[in-house]
């Protein structure tokens, strides 16, 4: 049994089910901190963290930043505009410079698949992948899974369908790996032009029609449709996508059971998901956002060397987790 993480969190593919459960379990006590009036514990006091965002992001960056601040870390945000990156500095030079500044952790978001691996192989700091190209977005996968676990308890045998652009979705890949490792039954549904050709080798069920997916699933994770997919010719129009693949209340009404609705955001209302579904009683979309902070706190805490059993103590005001490492 592996009850620790490695140096980095790069993907869910390389984690064991136990490691995923460790992160989820560690997130539980951290949820409560965000409910307090003073939302701060000293677990990462003295740690320096760089949020390195080579790609636009609002919610993931804010979520990481809150998680870091609530753990008392010192953080610096670097985004593509206004940094040397826009002057053509290579990723390897950026990595070397960060290393030279003796930072403890790097959170990286990048448009190239493998960018987080690239960085992790070249620096000693802990690296957290906040989304790399079309590869993985492990903290998003974890927060989705935590949200599902909040409602379902054990995920073994639970039926979850991921809907939309699987081909280009890092969220989909992380969800497929994570859910599968926890014993859930996973399906995907979307136009075949937006599914990887090798999807049949992922060990997931495939639905060509969203109606069939709704008939089968207990939860739907509805992916954002990127508009550049239309210009690239993968699908004809947003209108047709909504008519054929949209998650609408009409479709959900015909489901044999209540279906939990997740969406990693930001939503295109009226395209992949209708507003009445997104705002409806079975939507857990805002719970995902709340859980996002707790998951990221858990990941930061564990990578910094915090012991899971000390997470409770950490939130009480001790910084022992950090001291244990030193």
């Amino acid at each position: 049994m592996t009850r620790t993480l490695g140096k980095d969190l790069l993907d869910l593919e390389s984690l064991t089910g136990d490691q995923i459960r460790l992160i989820l379990d560690t997130a539980e006590p951290f949820k409560e901190i965000s409910e307090r009036a003073i939302k701060k514990v000293p677990a990462l006091r003295g740690s320096t963290i760089v949020n390195l965002f080579f790609e636009n992001s609002t919610r993931t960056r804010i979520s990481f930043e809150f998680a870091e601040k609530r753990l008392s870390a010192d953080t610096v945000n670097v985004s593509t505009s206004g940094s040397s990156v826009s002057k053509g500095e290579t990723l390897v030079d950026t990595a070397r410079n960060l290393e030279a500044m003796r930072i403890d952790m790097v959170v990286i978001r990048h448009s190239a698949s493998g960018a987080a691996h690239f960085l992790a192989n070249r620096i000693q700091s802990n690296v957290i992948n906040a989304g790399d190209g079309t590869h993985e977005h492990p903290t998003q996968g974890l927060l989705d899974i935590l949200t599902l676990r909040d409602r379902f308890g054990d995920l073994k045998g639970r039926r979850i369908c991921i809907c939309g652009d699987i081909l280009h979705s890092r969220v989909a890949r992380s969800n497929i790996w994570g859910l599968t490792k926890l014993g859930a039954e996973v399906a995907v549904c979307g136009p075949r032009s937006l599914l990887p050709n090798a999807i049949d080798q992922f060990g997931v069920r495939i639905f060509d029609r969203v109606e069939e997916a709704i008939e089968w699933a207990e939860a739907l994770n509805v992916l954002r449709l990127q508009f550049e997919r239309m210009t690239a010719g993968y699908i004809p129009s947003a209108r047709e996508y909504n008519r054929v693949f949209g998650i609408t209340s009409e479709r959900l009404e015909r489901a044999p059971r209540d279906i939990l609705i997740l969406h990693p955001g930001p939503m295109n209302r009226g395209v992949e998901i209708d507003s009445d579904v997104a705002d409806g009683p079975h939507s857990v979309i805002l719970d995902q956002v709340t859980n996002g902070v707790a998951i990221r706190m858990a990941v930061l805490y564990l990578l910094a060397g915090g012991k899971p059993e000390l997470a409770e103590a950490a939130k009480g005001g001790s910084s022992r987790g950090r001291e244990e490492r030193e």
Partner: protein, 440 residues
């Protein structure tokens, strides 16, 4: 020039069905005697070849020497020395230089630089189209007159079927092959590796096997239409092998090559975003590798070529999708083939020599490819059983981008002879057991 007497090696020459221990005498740049025990002239330099294989010189019909344009990455001189160190007595340089080798002056430049290097021979390949832009036909006749041995727009596919048709027709006058880099550009656009489970998992855009195969069958059909000789570069898929077999069965003038990396590595090598496993065509699946090995054995694939593509180390040190395609191959080709096809795959040394020496000479109408008395003395002496660890810092090529770094391989050139002159020798004894290397 002193005569050379290669003593006691195993003479492997499929051009005369020879596979026996014996001596080889070289004088005046020609093969002066072969077989049995030869008592050479008194002034002859004697090279002990006990335990080594003596064969016609290897010829690589596909490499990128980067000069002119990227002399920081490779020059004709360093490339020619790397070739000699790999056991090649001759290489053909692809025209995707800067400027493109698309006219007689550019071809002549390569010929002159190669003469100065005085290592392996370098034969220029001219471009099919002016600037490799896929539009106007380049001047084949003048380029052949200046020393070009084939034409190709390698690095880029010939997208226009009409241009390919015209090139195949026009090349018939000069009796040269038209080499195509088979890639349907709209299907492969943006692709970074083979399309399959690994690309899907890594989140990298894939290039399907069909992108190659569509162009393979197009080119075979155009060869049928025109009667021209189409040579298909760096074949990488099982489907391509089947299509080539189909073409050959019908007597169509199609020949094909495969690279050592496509005979030894699969898409799995890309995991971890390993940029030294990035090439075009990409590494494919184990099934493809298996089919390609069989095709080398049964002759469906005519020859082995390296697609030697040096890059500066920091060009490969980046995000996978942005890294350039290609690896160096001249100094590992023989060992990769011996290790993967002879040791594990049951290929005979006689067939290895055919695919690396005789067949390229025959198909590209080049000197060499035989040890018959009177033939030009381009000879490769190699140790079929030397085990060595690949260390790119010891390469004579300027390129260091090898996916075989740190691997232990079997088989290594001991001595490379061009027109009777030793251009490479692995150790003082000429037996390839020492690490000291002569430079050119």
């Amino acid at each position: 020039m002193k005569p050379l007497l290669l003593k006691g090696g195993k003479l492997v020459d499929p051009s005369q069905n020879l596979n026996t221990v014996g001596d080889l005498l070289i004088a005046d740049g020609k093969i002066a005697g072969i077989g049995g025990s030869i008592a050479g002239p008194e002034d002859a330099e004697v090279v002990d070849c006990d335990g080594l294989i003596v064969s016609p010189g290897f010829i690589d019909v596909h490499c990128h020497l980067r000069e002119p344009g990227r002399e920081d990455v490779e020059t004709i001189a360093t490339g020619a020395r790397a070739a000699a160190a790999g056991g090649f007595t001759a290489v053909c340089a692809m025209p995707n230089t800067d400027p493109v080798t698309d006219n007689q002056a550019a071809v002549g430049f390569i010929v002159r630089q190669a003469q100065r290097a005085a290592a392996a021979r370098v034969y220029p390949i001219g471009a099919i189209s002016v600037g490799q832009n896929g539009e106007a036909l380049a001047e084949f006749g003048e380029m052949v007159g200046a020393g070009a041995v084939a034409v190709s727009d390698d690095g880029r596919p010939v997208a226009s079927a009409q241009l390919m048709r015209t090139a195949l027709e026009y090349a018939r006058t000069f009796k040269i092959p038209v080499i195509d880099h088979c890639e349907e550009p709209t299907l492969s656009a943006g692709g970074a590796m083979n399309e399959g489970i690994v690309s899907a998992q890594l989140g990298l855009k894939g290039i399907p096997a069909e992108a190659e195969e569509i162009m393979v069958i197009r080119d075979i059909l155009l060869a049928r239409l025109t009667g021209g000789h189409v040579h298909l570069a760096h074949m990488s898929t099982k489907g391509s092998v089947e299509l080539i077999r189909w073409g050959k069965d019908r007597g169509i003038r199609v020949t094909a090559e495969v690279c050592p990396h496509h005979l030894s590595l699969t898409e799995e090598s890309v995991r971890g975003y390993e940029t030294n496993a990035k090439m075009n065509p990409p590494l494919r699946t184990a099934k493809d590798v298996e089919a390609l090995r069989e095709a080398v054995k049964d002759g469906t694939i005519d020859l082995i070529a390296t697609d030697h593509a040096p890059h500066h180390y920091d060009e490969k040190e980046r995000e996978f999708a942005d890294a350039p395609n290609g690896i160096v191959g001249l100094e590992t080709a023989l060992a990769v083939v011996v290790t993967n096809l002879v040791e594990k795959g049951g290929l005979s040394f006689s067939d290895l020599v055919d695919r690396m020496a005789c067949s390229p000479a025959r198909l590209f109408n080049l000197p060499g490819g035989s040890l018959k008395r009177g033939a030009i003395a381009d000879v490769t002496v190699f140790d079929p059983s030397e085990r060595w660890k690949v260390d790119p810092s010891k390469f004579l090529s300027k390129g260091r981008n090898s996916p075989y770094t740190g691997m232990t391989l079997v088989g290594r050139a001991a001595c490379t002879i061009v027109a009777g002159s030793v251009v490479y020798r692995s150790g003082n004894s000429g037996r390839g057991r020492e690490t000291k290397r002569a430079r050119g």
